[in-house]
Amino acid sequence: MCLGIPGQVVEMHPTHEHLARVDVSGVGRMINIGLLEDENVVPGDWVLIHVGFAMSKIDEEEARLALASLQMMGEAFTDEVEALMTSPTTMTTGPTTRGDGERWEF
């Protein structure tokens, strides 16, 4: 839970300014970038992802470093990446529909 996983922003969500599609180890995932609202995140930027949120903007070198460090952690890292990859929130492509039919959006 304490790990920050690096990812590269691929595209911004067309209608939700606080969402972005991010490439994490070759897989596209939807990440909340609301905490970086003032930092002008654009496609190509690298971010550190923590529990589904982009926590900070980093440069490419730092992303490589962070990834190399994480890979050395073994199970703790693979568990965290698996959790990220299978999280319903990051797998969403956008708005979802609420159980009672009302439109509900992240």
Binding site: M1, C2, L48, H50, M55, E61, A83, W104
Partner: protein, 375 residues
């Protein structure tokens, strides 16, 4: 991967270690790394074995899983066992023992306990299950708390009424202060935490040099980052300086993340006091939901026991968390207490000092050789 190699380069490490040996001379220094991520790097790379004997690293309370007291785990289990509740938690918290077992045990007994990656997953479960009440077990320092805060803002915006947060978020500065005031520990400086500082910045640490006369250097997570931060601490001491410095400028800015701090302040307020495992009650050291978010506060909604439970007698997590003893000096380390069947929290999380030492301590001598020096 040139850059990575640079940070793992044995030749570079050797020259930094030589600098440390030179600066330390015959004196003895005790530095505390506050952050669990640093503890992990230190053991993973055998850093303690490349340092001269006069430079000792003490592992602090910076693992949010490790500092949750048993009473709060009991409270979590009580909520989880309330009929109709779906209890959601980060995976790390599932095996943390309370006085009568852990959340996995509650799940085995029939409670609906689910592991989530993000607080947003918990909110989604609430939306998908309008007939059930969903509680999120929120833990973490200022690194994680903004994510819970944003999730609560979403929940309010979307008028989700079946989502509640059991907040155990803690703040980084008060435990540092508590350690500085602890009579059984003499420290010469701190390695400041990495990720949490991306949120809070470096300014909140100024009291460390100003009030307590100890230097603090915010450090990155690579072995060379740690070694360089130790050089910076020793240089301050040798040059008669005492200040907050930033070794991790690649990521941490002095002002932190103002947006995240603003969202935190909007949703959370400081509790008058909160119990920390091993450190006892520390005033204004944890976050609870502001009255405006009372409808989302699990503590107001559920009857939690709220009873303080003393740690098991055999467990010395408290001394480990304060850096008074090393993990392997604990009586139950590696025997009664292992990562598979932890007694104390330090053995549960991979960033806990005991688990880190248990996993890597036995191999770190060989790793240390690749870093250039072994003693």
């Amino acid at each position: 991967m040139k850059f990575v190699d640079e940070y793992r380069d044995p030749v570079a490490a050797r020259s930094v270690v030589a600098r440390i040996v030179d600066l330390a001379g015959d004196d003895h220094f005790k530095f505390m790394e506050v952050c669990g991520g640093h503890t992990h790097t230190i053991y993973r790379h055998g850093i303690e074995h490349v340092l001269p004997e006069g430079v000792e690293l003490v592992h602090g309370p910076g693992c949010p899983v490790c500092v949750i007291p048993m009473g709060r785990v009991d409270d979590a289990i009580a909520i989880a066992e309330t009929p109709g509740v779906i209890f959601t938690s980060f995976g790390d918290m599932m095996r943390v023992p309370g006085s009568k077992g852990n959340l996995l045990g509650a799940k085995a007994r029939g409670a609906d306990v689910r592991f989530v990656y993000s607080p947003l997953d918990a909110l989604r479960i609430a939306v998908d299950n309008p007939d059930r009440n969903v509680v999120f077990f929120a833990v973490g320092f200022e690194t994680t708390a903004p994510s819970t805060a944003i999730t609560l803002l979403h929940a309010r915006e979307q008028r989700v009424t079946n989502f509640h947060v059991f907040s155990n978020h803690v703040t980084i500065v008060p435990p540092i202060k508590a350690i500085l005031e602890s009579p059984d520990l003499r420290l010469d400086g701190f390695l400041g935490p990495g990720h949490v500082s991306t949120v809070v910045g470096n300014r909140p640490y100024r009291f460390v040099p100003e009030k307590y006369g100890k230097p603090l250097v915010t450090a990155g997570f690579e072995p060379l980052d740690i070694l360089q931060a130790i050089v910076m601490l020793l240089l301050q001491i040798r040059q008669g300086r005492c200040e907050v410095e930033n070794q991790y400028t690649r990521v941490v800015r002095d002002e932190g993340n103002p947006r995240a701090l603003q969202i935190l302040a909007e949703v959370f307020e400081l509790r008058p006091h909160f119990e920390w495992r091993g450190l006892g009650f520390i005033s204004q050291s944890a976050l609870r939901l502001r009255p405006e978010f009372a409808d989302f506060d699990a503590e107001l909604r559920y009857a939690v026991p709220g009873v303080r439970v003393a740690d098991p007698k055999a467990c010395q997590c408290g001394e480990v968390l304060k850096g008074v003893i090393k993990p392997w000096e604990c009586k139950v380390f590696g025997t009664a207490c292992t990562p598979e069947t932890p007694i104390g929290t330090c053995m549960v999380s991979s960033e806990g000092a005991c688990a880190a030492y248990y996993n890597f301590g036995r191999v770190h001598r060989e790793v240390a050789v690749t870093l250039g020096r072994s003693r």
